[in-house]
Symmetry: C2
Subunit: 290 residues, 2 copies
């Protein structure tokens, strides 16, 4: 299951009851948080996402609307007596900010914080089912995009057929991987007969904050869903360029060049008309049932 | 006019749609913010309090639920091109936290921040109409209470009477201050005849977070309204003492010993039943019309 929940889609200035950037990715047994603007922990309560389930946090850059909610979230986890390690991937200076805030509160954190400083693109997290890559985007300060990919899903055993063809359980692993079966009579039974195709694995790319920057399209080639910032409308492309942000049209162009199946817009300017009502129902995307 | 608006009355853990501590005091032409938990700037929008009007900020202590919203507020003021100086009174370490956060964002602040480190009790702000004192309370870390006092209001001129008794305008200042008037015939006209008594000046004391601590009562003697934290109910007085917090009963006892006219409770534990609905209407106290 891969599911993205938008907790905030606003740019820096609070407006329209929208919230600054934060997204929750539920993926392959993980609950991952991407950016953590002020009020994210309250938004998690509103969306009934359990804070303590978060195991990995990715912070794109150190503008406040992308991380000012982090220390509050970490403190609440401490007050709730979390014990499991929390992994944070971010520009290196974040660690000094968080450590200083922990120090001045004189509080003990009952869980371990593992910081990973982003300094070059590539895979920053990987397990059997999921990988996360980071890549540079083009903002006023150091800023990173993230690409989340489910690994290739295994084919499923067709119980009826394996019984019919007397396939031993010891061969099931091979079937999952796509091997054909040769029986005692030396007959070849094609894998497609014995298994059911897996649901295609999904991918999600997060690209914020950034000016229009074509190398992104190459990095996220063929992604299922891309979130791309769109602070400005097309008419304001000069402002967008000057402030290292993108327009809606530019976001669409990146998605098109990347061959992305779907595009999700966000980081709307405070005076942009509200496009998504973040107060009513959670906006969930890319959810697949297996 | 002296008016207190409660933007948040919750203790550290987010709950019940309540917000962490923040109060706005509108007093004698000032808009003063007392503590600034996460989300305070959004609460200000909800209560239609203009962020840019704030001229003085008082931070009691460096537990996150009392200051994590400050950097977001300061950043929004910068994005809104504030130019007027902002004064912040807080334990000294706050300055290093804020300066570090400003540094990592690489942003320019178009206004000046003046930090005043709280290190001993006494008057920390004073002008013609208002004074602010700080005093130590008793919490796990260095923590300060604040006492806001309007200065004695001047008596008002009774226009009808000053005309009747031919009092020259040059003597009006004396009348404001309470002097009697001696006319050309050497007759003494009592001040009470020529003026109207001013509305009594008001005072407000803010006491959070603190264990039960009797010296507070002495510091705030005769105050009109006292806000005292009441994290726990009376049944949990042992927990309260262990965590350097107070119970409702203890808050009342301090108010009584101080001879305070009114008591305002807050800093409710996250699992305390909601007593004040902070989502509906602003809770305003001590508002007087002059």
């Amino acid at each position: 299951m891969l599911s993205v929940t938008i907790l905030g889609n606003n740019s820096a200035l609070p407006a329209h009851n929208r919230h600054p950037t934060a997204q929750v990715l539920q993926a392959e047994g993980h609950t991952m948080l991407i950016d953590c603007g002020e009020g994210t922990q309250m938004q998690m309560s509103a969306y009934k996402i359990k804070r303590n389930k978060i195991d990995h946090i990715f912070i794109s850059h150190l503008h406040g609307d992308h991380y000012f909610g982090l220390i509050g979230l970490l403190s609440s986890l401490a007050l709730n007596n979390r014990t499991s390690t929390l992994h944070i991937y971010a520009p290196g200076e974040l660690q000094s900010v968080i450590r200083l805030q922990m120090k001045v509160s004189r509080g003990d954190f009952p869980y371990q914080l593992c910081f990973y400083n982003l300094d070059e693109g590539g895979i920053i997290f990987e397990d059997k089912k999921l990988s996360v890559e980071c890549f540079k985007v083009n903002h006023r300060i150091e800023c990173w995009g993230f690409l989340f990919r489910e690994k290739k899903n295994l084919r499923k055993i067709n119980i009826e057929k394996v019984n019919e063809y007397n396939v031993p359980i010891s061969f099931f692993e091979n079937l999952h991987r796509g091997d054909d079966f040769i029986n005692a009579e030396n007959e070849l039974i094609k894998n497609e007969i014995l298994t059911i195709a897996a649901e295609p694995s999904k991918s999600y790319a997060y690209c914020a904050d950034t000016a229009f920057y074509e190398p992104i399209a190459e990095k996220i080639k063929g992604v299922d869903l891309v979130y791309h910032e769109s602070t400005y409308l097309d008419a304001d492309s000069k402002k967008a360029a000057a402030r290292f942000h993108s327009t809606t049209k530019q976001a669409a162009l990146i998605a098109k060049k990347a061959g992305a199946k779907k595009l999700l817009l966000g980081h709307f300017l405070h005076n942009t008309k509200r496009l998504i009502n973040s107060k009513t129902k959670p906006a969930r995307f890319l959810k697949t049932q297996k």
